[in-house]
């Protein structure tokens, strides 16, 4: 079986062209990133607001928790049959798929955002207020940067779910890596189906890796402890020990 998957993946003909792997990966990323962007635009401001003010927490937290239980495929068919007749062209399929992925992504991002803001060290918040910052300034300059690690991990877990679930776009005749799963299943082409599954998993891992790198870059080193513990000590040791050793050797 593994051999047959590798053979399928190694076949150059499967990579290029209108229904090749490269095109499908691009489509898959288009659907996923669009959904992530929309979900973030909704969930991050809402999460920050709830975390900052504590208002509507009970309602939103429970509603979002319940939203996690919505079955994506069921929602997709409902949305296609309901929205489809109101829209024309590809949008009739893209909009329902986007809706499903956004609904899927919002809970993770939202809970990351409000939990992040809620969990900010009260001492830091007090200090900011003590320095004369107003509410929005506290949010912008202290709470948001401090909450960033949790916000980003919310986004990462949402993105993993989106990439895995974006395969259902193929059910409603769109592209993406799901095409290999659906088309493969339809004709009992197991190597194609399995290769599609492998590709989805690999894509999810790569995207998560990229997001992990972004997280490392944008989160303040003061929060992660990398600056204080690792970099400073490295600088110290570099400054003290290697130099004399170098002198001796010369």
């Amino acid at each position: 079986m593994i051999n047959r998957i590798l053979t399928w993946l190694a076949d150059g003909a499967h990579w290029h062209g209108d229904d090749g792997i490269l095109r499908r990966v691009v489509e898959h990323l288009e659907y996923s990133l669009t959904a992530l962007l929309i979900a973030s635009l909704i969930a991050i401001p809402l999460g920050l607001y709830i975390g900052h003010t504590g208002r509507g927490r009970f309602l939103v937290v429970n509603a979002v928790g319940a939203a996690r239980a919505i079955p994506s495929l069921g929602l997709l068919f409902l949305a296609v049959l309901w929205l489809g007749p109101k829209l024309s062209g590809d949008i009739a399929f893209l909009a329902p798929t986007g809706l499903v992925l956004v609904v899927l992504a919002i809970p993770s991002i939202l809970s990351g955002a409000y939990a992040g803001v809620e969990g900010v060290d009260p001492a830091a918040r007090d200090a900011a207020i003590g320095m004369g910052m107003r509410g929005t300034e506290v949010l912008r300059h202290v709470e948001f940067p401090c909450a960033l690690p949790l916000i980003l991990s919310g986004i990462r877990s949402a993105m993993l779910q989106i990439i895995a679930t974006a395969t259902i776009a193929a059910v409603v005749s769109l592209g993406g890596l799901g095409r290999f799963l659906i088309d493969g299943l339809a004709v009992r082409d197991t190597p194609q189906t399995a290769s599609g599954a492998v590709l989805v998993a690999v894509l999810a891992l790569i995207v998560d890796l990229v997001l992990a790198l972004i997280q490392r870059l944008v989160v303040s080193p003061g929060l992660t402890g990398r600056y204080g513990k690792v970099s400073l000590m490295d600088a110290e040791t570099e400054a003290t020990s290697p130099a004399p050793a170098l002198q001796h050797s010369v």
Binding site: F77, V80, L81, G84, P85, L87, S88, G89, D90, A92, F93, A170, V172, S173, R179, I182, D183, L185, A186, V187
Partner: protein, 307 residues
């Protein structure tokens, strides 16, 4: 788990008892199974597969036979072909509505014919010795390429061949397997030399296909010829003059020893009156309008002077 199983077993056995008691008015069902064609020589047991169209056809057969004074029993919604053909062979049922193409493939692993007459002849030769088929009807339930009425009028389309000059600007929809299946996109290319602009993978004659055609995401789509949504939306089924899709004419499959002049005359009269549009309309009454199949069958028979 155990309790559910027990409850299920109880319901199942109750249902079996009910079925058995229906059939035991004159004789023991086991005895009738043991000596096919012997018990109740005048009684015809009509069966059907487990989908609405088959049950409806069985009701039509049953109604027509009882109108001619034949004693009829019904055992409808038995299951798939794998379940009811053995029932037919062991005498539990005597008559069932069937489709020439798929039945031919069931009995004959090397089935090759695709046009109506060819499939019928091939099937007739392949049917086991104890069974026989009567006249086929013009009604077919098979794959078809379907367009909206507006498209058909605008491009004056009657058959798949008429798509020739337009296909290159059209989007074709169908189940995902159509992309590679010999009766799908490759077949349309090979038999009709049609190359569509794009192929959009949808579902196998399901709601997605119907909606995509209705809303214009596809210009032509694969549906089944008696699909109730064809009648409900005024879709146009394109003829298949080169028999890309193997013929699937409705045909009565019956135990040979049960056939007599009255019975074959009654069933052949039905086949003579049925065509695809009529059958599609009747199926729509049952599936979309939720009318009782017995009533729909009765109305059809009365209208055609058969019942």
């Amino acid at each position: 788990m155990n309790r559910t199983r027990f409850a299920f077993a109880l319901t199942a056995s109750a249902a079996m008892l009910a079925v058995a008691s229906c059939g035991t008015s004159s004789s023991d069902p086991l005895a009738s199974a043991g000596s096919p064609g012997q018990s109740g020589a005048g009684t015809i047991v009509v069966g059907s597969a487990n989908f609405p169209e088959s049950a409806l056809l069985a009701e039509i057969y049953a109604g027509a036979l009882s109108a001619k004074g034949v004693k009829v029993e019904k055992k409808l919604n038995i299951g798939s072909r794998e379940a009811y053909i053995p029932a037919l062979k062991d005498g539990s049922i005597d008559l069932i509505p069937e489709y020439t193409g798929v039945l031919d493939q069931y009995f004959n692993k090397n089935a090759k014919a695709t046009n109506a007459a060819g499939v019928y002849a091939e099937l007739k030769a392949a049917v086991p010795a104890t069974l026989t088929i009567l006249d086929k009807s013009a009604a077919e339930d098979k794959d078809a390429v379907v367009v909206t009425k507006a498209t058909a009028t605008r491009l004056s389309l009657k058959s798949i061949a008429d798509l020739g000059p337009f296909a290159k600007d059209m989007t074709l929809g169908g189940p995902p397997e159509w992309k590679t299946r010999p009766t799908g996109v490759p077949g349309l290319k090979k038999v009709y030399n049609l190359e569509f602009k794009t192929f959009r993978p949808l579902d196998a004659g399901g709601p997605l296909s119907v909606q995509a055609l209705k809303n214009g995401q596809v210009d032509a789509v694969n549906l089944f010829t008696t699909d109730p949504s064809v009648a409900a939306n005024g879709f146009v089924i394109l003829d298949d003059p080169k028999s890309l899709f193997a013929a699937q004419n409705v045909v009565p499959l019956i135990t040979k020893s049960k056939v007599n002049a009255t019975i074959s005359a009654a069933l052949n009269a039905i086949s003579a009156k049925l065509d695809t549009a009529t059958l599609g309309g009747l199926v729509k009454e049952v599936v979309v309008d939720k009318k009782d199949a017995v009533v729909v069958a009765k109305e059809f028979l009365t209208k055609n002077g058969l019942g």
